[in-house]
Symmetry: C2
Subunit: 247 residues, 2 copies
């Protein structure tokens, strides 16, 4: 980035990419060059581009990740979130060019986006020129982050949990056919708590988005559990209109 005159002043974008894999929830983070701190993939918005569209471009430029559906969830606009001392340090360490100092010293507001992906399915993320690593880190053991990035991640996770109440989730995160315990494990991972097996089953079936197949998961000593798949029409209808449990 050399031309800051093409950018929307005082505006940045930050992306919280949650990765789900084998019942673990991780977050895609960049390690800053010359510093022992990590940051969310983010950047600035071209003045001639829609903010939502630019968020997708930024994510791709910063991490190599393509075709991720991002949900905009919050604008972080507190004055306290800017940190002049931090900018000075970045300039001093050579992470930011001196002629970019003025740009970075503005008061910034940032728009938060999040996504949830099965990270085994996405191509290898690759760092950009201000970071030297791009990795999936466990949500529960995050290292030291820059600015208010911890708060942004926390808020994104809260929003994801709320989304589970009124929207279906699971397509692209589970194999095409899955067992009820596998679906429950996904919810438990996202909610960070255990759920009652019978209540979960009852509620999930009441949503009317599952098709029971006549196949069973083989292997294991126990009775082979039934395989389900999503009814894609009903699933997408529920995304539009909310789950049946709603009003």
């Amino acid at each position: 980035m050399s031309e800051t005159t093409n950018l929307h002043p005082g505006l940045s974008v930050d992306c919280v990419i949650f990765g789900f894999h084998e019942n673990e929830l991780k977050v895609l983070m960049l390690k800053m060059k010359q510093m022992d701190k990590w940051a969310l993939p983010g950047g600035f918005v071209n003045i001639k581009e829609d903010v939502d569209k630019e968020a997708i471009n930024i994510l791709q430029r910063r991490t190599g990740l393509k075709d991720i559906f991002l949900h905009q969830f919050h604008l972080f606009g507190n004055v306290s979130r800017n940190n002049q001392a931090y900018v000075d340090k970045l300039v001093k360490k050579g992470v930011i060019e001196p002629d970019m100092k003025e740009w970075f010293q503005q008061r910034f507001i940032t728009v938060g986006y999040y996504a949830l992906v099965e990270f085994a399915n996405v191509q290898e993320p690759t760092p950009d020129n201000i970071s030297d690593k791009c990795e999936w880190l466990p949500l529960t053991e995050l290292p030291d982050l820059i600015l208010d990035h911890s708060e942004i991640i926390h808020k994104a996770h809260q929003t994801l949990k709320t989304q589970l109440i009124y929207q279906p989730i699971g397509i692209n995160l589970l194999p095409e056919k899955f067992t009820m315990p596998e679906l429950q494990a996904l919810y438990e991972t996202l909610l960070e708590k255990e759920l009652d097996r019978r209540n979960f089953r009852r509620k999930m079936l009441a949503y009317d988005i599952l098709i029971q197949t006549d196949e069973r998961r083989k292997g294991g000593a126990h009775k082979a559990p039934i395989l389900y798949k999503f009814d894609k029409d009903k699933y997408h209808q529920a995304i539009e209109k909310g789950l049946k449990s709603g009003w």
Copy 2:
């Protein structure tokens, strides 16, 4: 507003204030001076002020409304939402001073906030210097609005409907003691659809936020209906943690 150097560049705020009264849903709108168009109360953000706090200030300056709890719900950031021809017209009509033309011609993103109030309880709204009326207009019969304000109102209403799925609503909108049909009428107004009486009752009681009093609403020929009130502790807990129907 004369000093634009104190303002965060390219950023505005728009407030969708829904008013509920006698089972009708209205929106607080300002009529633009010299034009047959209406607008949401909104304005610009001081560079040294938190965006959320400034939204409350703007609402008060523009409408006289105080102590309204605003929910931030979306950033509208499409390039197409700006309209140079419209700014030219406002300058020509004398609504905008010529020395402010440059400020208004920037590309703006706007942060949307909404609130829901019992409008009989709020003091008289009063217009500011660029509008000549400030009125509650019925949501279903809105006049011609400026820019993308129709879209902002639509999105706010969608968000309000979704909020009903996971958060309680009713304190400050209903009298302290109310009947189940009165609570149902509130939901029906907000959702713009009829609900089944028995399902509504069952679901609402399952939320465990109501206290059944030993009083009944008197008058009328039918059997006097039972009065309920909110259990304030459980109500506020449900706002924090979500309703019992959630996961």
